[in-house]
Symmetry: C2
Subunit: 535 residues, 2 copies
Amino acid sequence: MVREVLSTRSWWGWGTVEGAVTGNERAALVERVAALLPGQDLTDHEPPDPVDLALPPARLRPPDSLAGCTSDDVTDRAAHAHGKAFRDVVRNLHGDLRHVPDLVVRPSTEQQVVDVLDWCGSAGVAVIPYGGGSSVVGGVEPRCTGYPGVVSLDLGRLDRVIEIDTTSRAARVQAGVFGPHLEDQLRPSGLTLRHFPQSFEFSTLGGWLATRASGHYATLTTHIDDLTESLRVVSPVGISESRRLPGSGAGPSPDRMFLGSEGTLGVITEAWMRLRDRPQHRAGASVRFADYPAAVAATRDIAQSGLHPSNCRLLDAAEAFLNAGVSAGGGVLVLAFESADHPVDASLARAVELCREHGGVVDAGPTRVSDDWRSSFLRMPYQRDALARIGMVVETFETACTWDRFEALHAAVTEAAQAAIREVCGVGVITCRFTHVYPDGPAPYFGVYAAGKWGSTVAQWDEIKAAVSEAIAAHGGTITHHHAVGRDHRPWYDRQRPEPFALALTAAKAALDPAGILNPGVLLPEPGVRGRVTW
Amino acid sequence: MVREVLSTRSWWGWGTVEGAVTGNERAALVERVAALLPGQDLTDHEPPDPVDLALPPARLRPPDSLAGCTSDDVTDRAAHAHGKAFRDVVRNLHGDLRHVPDLVVRPSTEQQVVDVLDWCGSAGVAVIPYGGGSSVVGGVEPRCTGYPGVVSLDLGRLDRVIEIDTTSRAARVQAGVFGPHLEDQLRPSGLTLRHFPQSFEFSTLGGWLATRASGHYATLTTHIDDLTESLRVVSPVGISESRRLPGSGAGPSPDRMFLGSEGTLGVITEAWMRLRDRPQHRAGASVRFADYPAAVAATRDIAQSGLHPSNCRLLDAAEAFLNAGVSAGGGVLVLAFESADHPVDASLARAVELCREHGGVVDAGPTRVSDDWRSSFLRMPYQRDALARIGMVVETFETACTWDRFEALHAAVTEAAQAAIREVCGVGVITCRFTHVYPDGPAPYFGVYAAGKWGSTVAQWDEIKAAVSEAIAAHGGTITHHHAVGRDHRPWYDRQRPEPFALALTAAKAALDPAGILNPGVLLPEPGVRGRVTW
């Protein structure tokens, strides 16, 4: 077997080792926290070396044909044990790796994916499809019992753009490609996917598709679903490939069954993705409000105007202050328009006019908030790690609801978070921004920053998370707009999902994955008995 | 049991008896055909009275609790035996009703829908959900064997708008409502669904949802899918109701499983639909081209421009001449923009500029083609009936494909149609227009007008249809962009659909409809053995 070197990827935290927050950046961050939380213990906790963790030995040996792409290296296995949620990172820092894959397999051909499923199917071994490993919902964690072993199926070597159709503006892309490498390969054609989730640098096309990720666009093409022309998926019973179609009304959409299936129905190996020309025309502004309900009303008017801004991010007062350094009692709306074809100044002007009707004031330096915010966007996960190391509770959660319910949902979630923070942390703050807006409702994204107690921060966060999830469920929100379900959202997803749909999905899963080996415990309960699967 | 009077709906043809083409309109139509086809037998054939057809007696009696909403009237049953395709209308004219439902049940409450499914499930009776009956793919025809009886479940009494949320711009609507009655109920709120398929007057919301109908908008919200916020569906194993959400990433979308399920998984009884404000700003133009490939290239540029026209209908030369009376060797592009919020003149100007770059010439009377075309749009099915009565073969079919494949698909379909027309009809013409356009491809809609032989026109059409469907399949098109699959598209749908998805859909169907009573033969094969269903 091959011993993989993880290049410079961090095994325990976000991104690369080199990208971590250190030196002056770290000092300034700690100083800011210390000023807000006098007396708080801010001791830094180094991650352990996985070699010292006495992980259980791998229970599996791959067939000879797969040995060349299989690793049982301890650090490699440790790096594939968790996603990148706050609770994952903290457990890594504590060396708390209860569930570790036995092997990491890195196929470089689709046939090897087929071979892995064949081998694991016959051996009853669980398979966890793995893209960039940026799940924040326990989606890649082998938290499953009753299997003789678990394989983490890392698709990172399937990373090529195979074909570009410049006429239809679409590309056939292997699913394991990371965001930057995808855009690099598209660049010579002048086309771009422009799907930029916060995880962009360290997540893959296949991961985006399997989890219905959302990206750059605040309106219209919010989820990766909308950019998908066709999918190729290896299931244990065969390969599913949909026809390349711009639109179809032939029965329920096959692609829509695999989009969001989170590795439970098959392994996405390729997709034809819709591309676009790079934007040539841009316009943006940030608008301050004294009153939050007025800011929400202005944002709703824009969402319902048909102007289709590419960015329409309403930061509440706390979010604007903490992440953009701007004081605005009612928050700041960051607006942007873009087009490859025509000027968008008139669209921006109309959006700003709608804001003014609700008391909005355009910032003198129109793009300042936007630029500041964008530059910190990709740093946020690194800063989260630095804060996790000094015992802070730092995490995000998100939802979507209709406009008529937003005010009550926002109040209930805020209240639930604040009560839980008081109860379990003492001091903390909750912030809210809209990541995406629809004519019928916003997608609010919340951040929690609270004073933790080292050794208890996972439990503290879990209590806050349970409280806010109950508030979301009680007020008709979805348990996730784009973070997926995984294992961690299951209690609320199970209530949200219509029961007949659960029956249908369970039956579909049993048909495609009769041995029940694919990502057990995600979306659906882990089969009770192996071999003779009861769902 | 109640004897239903069918008001003025035609039992055999499109729409109402009063709407039929008669008098001067009919004389002009026949004269035009006679001029084109000298020597053709154009004898008019009256529809028979169903009372004279000696239909088999109903094999079922409803339970007493459902007797009040059940009809076994012969004309009622005959009217529910077929959809409204050319082959349906012609078979009606011939009195060829081989498969007729035993009963027509018209529930006025959702509980009665539950009761019908309970009764039919326990008795093994097939149930065909029926909206407006405008299927053109055999979707409502009880062409199923091995059942002791068939119920046509007519949802027309579930016709109310129950609730309007003006903040989120959405309405909770019962599925049996017809288009005009839906818009009437929405009008006081100032909101509109603006979903206008050609069948608008005689089709229902539930039918649109079950078949993934497409409507008014040439871009963005082309299918009813995009206007759907949540669905309520009665399945034999329980009621499925999704949460009202503007967007969600929680697993595969439950709604997307029922959208396009064509009555095979459950009966849609309610939906929350996304509405919009009525348009205040409009702009339109029609642009003539000398060269069809140039016209296609211009249309593609507009589809990829992000201008989002509400109408972007490219009529080829034959279509422009036959249906709009315009001579243009390369066809006519009918463009329209609309907005409730802002002027759209700049968008039209940019679209026209793109046309000029490809040699397009704007018509002096910019909306003439548009207005003429629109006024004839709703008359077309009536005219089709009049032509069917005089022995013409008149039908449409449609697809969608990526731009890179359009030229070859168009050539192959045209050639296949012309060859089949020559072979089976002698003389005829095929026309093409785009009903919808996407950044990655158009949805071409074809019309066939051919000289038939009375008594053989169904067989003649079936041969043409098979030929063009093979051409569509061979060139990567979908067997339907918005006409659904039903029973008639099954041979091509079965090849288009990925096999693993067929397994998953079959399993989902078995989970939701364990007795296999729901619209058997649609999308999936009819169960081989009743009672103990084998899929």
